[in-house]
């Protein structure tokens, strides 16, 4: 069964991501990098909300209404914010550059997991 292996792999990646982010905070006794997790957890939320607002019954208009594009715009904003926030914090010496690198990598792993889970479950819903 391929689905079980996928879930195990994704949870493994999620755990590594959280490990990296928490280490980047706890190693230097500075818990500002935890903001990255909040950003990446919030990142798919505009897409979900605006996807609900879309009228699904119109086939011709599929995926092209402006409210959906607003949601995509905000999601893109939040994804880049997850990378830009540690860079800004490191540039102004609020956190160290090692913590910046670890939190960026960990945050990207967490976000990849969230996106993969969404795709995975959407694919199962259709059948």
């Amino acid at each position: 069964m391929a689905g079980l292996k996928t879930i195990i792999l994704l949870s493994f990646i999620l755990a590594i991501g959280f490990l990296l982010v928490i280490l980047s905070s706890a190693l230097f006794h500075n818990f500002l990098p935890l903001l990255v997790v909040a950003t990446y957890v919030l990142a798919p939320v505009p897409n979900w909300i605006c996807g609900r607002a879309q009228s699904n019954d119109d086939f011709m208009d599929g995926g092209s209404s402006s409210i959906v594009e607003l949601g995509r715009f905000l999601t893109g904003f939040l994804v880049v914010m997850g990378v830009a926030l540690p860079v800004v914090l490191a540039h102004t010496e609020q956190i160290r550059y090692e913590a910046m690198a670890m939190s960026i990598v960990g945050g990207l792993l967490i976000y990849t997991t969230i996106i993969s889970f969404t795709l995975f479950f959407r694919e199962q819903e259709e059948f």
Binding site: M60, E69, R72, G76, F77, L78, V80, V87, H91
Partner: protein, 171 residues
């Protein structure tokens, strides 16, 4: 459709797919976020310990960014189908003309933002001969406004793809 085209070269075919439109919208959001955080970075650099000079960001540095964001909002809140109003019979009473005026004001606000950021950089940081770590506040301002402009252009192009895509689908 192909006879009354304005430009000599056709658009590349990959621009007409739905996926590239979605990617364009995501890219526009990312570019806008990048420009926003460049401004935030300059402001927090101005307050941080690394800024040993007498130069600080105040409200003057924020005005071009505000104008650029306002122009982007105006441009992208216009319905693009209203611009070609002369082909539609129902859009009388100069709707296309009004849309073009509002669009012009949006573009003027955005170009004014970019020009204003260059002005702020030159008058505030280059003319008093600020060195590089201080000059970053001006450079980041110009980069942020240019990125707002690029993001707006990407969003414009990817919203105009929509028409061709739905047209192809309707056929």
């Amino acid at each position: 459709m192909s006879s009354d085209r304005l430009f000599r070269f056709p658009k590349p075919q990959w621009l007409n797919s739905a996926n590239s439109r979605t990617a364009g919208v995501y890219l526009a959001g990312g570019l806008f976020s990048l420009s926003f955080f460049l401004l935030i970075d300059a402001a927090s650099f101005s307050k941080s310990l690394k800024n040993a000079s007498d130069f600080h960001m105040n409200f003057v540095d924020w005005i071009p960014g505000i104008f650029s964001a306002l122009g982007m909002l105006v441009i992208n809140s216009i319905d693009k189908t209203r611009l070609s109003g002369d082909t539609f019979a129902y859009s009388g009473d100069g709707v296309a003309w009004k849309a073009r005026v509002v669009l012009f004001m949006g573009f003027a606000a955005m170009a004014g933002g970019l020009a204003g950021s260059v002005t702020v950089m030159v008058l505030k940081y280059v003319v008093p001969e600020a060195g590089f770590p201080t000059l970053w506040m001006g450079v980041a301002n110009v980069m942020a406004n240019a990125l707002v402009m690029i993001s707006s252009a990407v969003l414009w192009v990817s919203q105009n793809m929509e028409d061709d895509y739905t047209y192809n689908l309707a056929l």
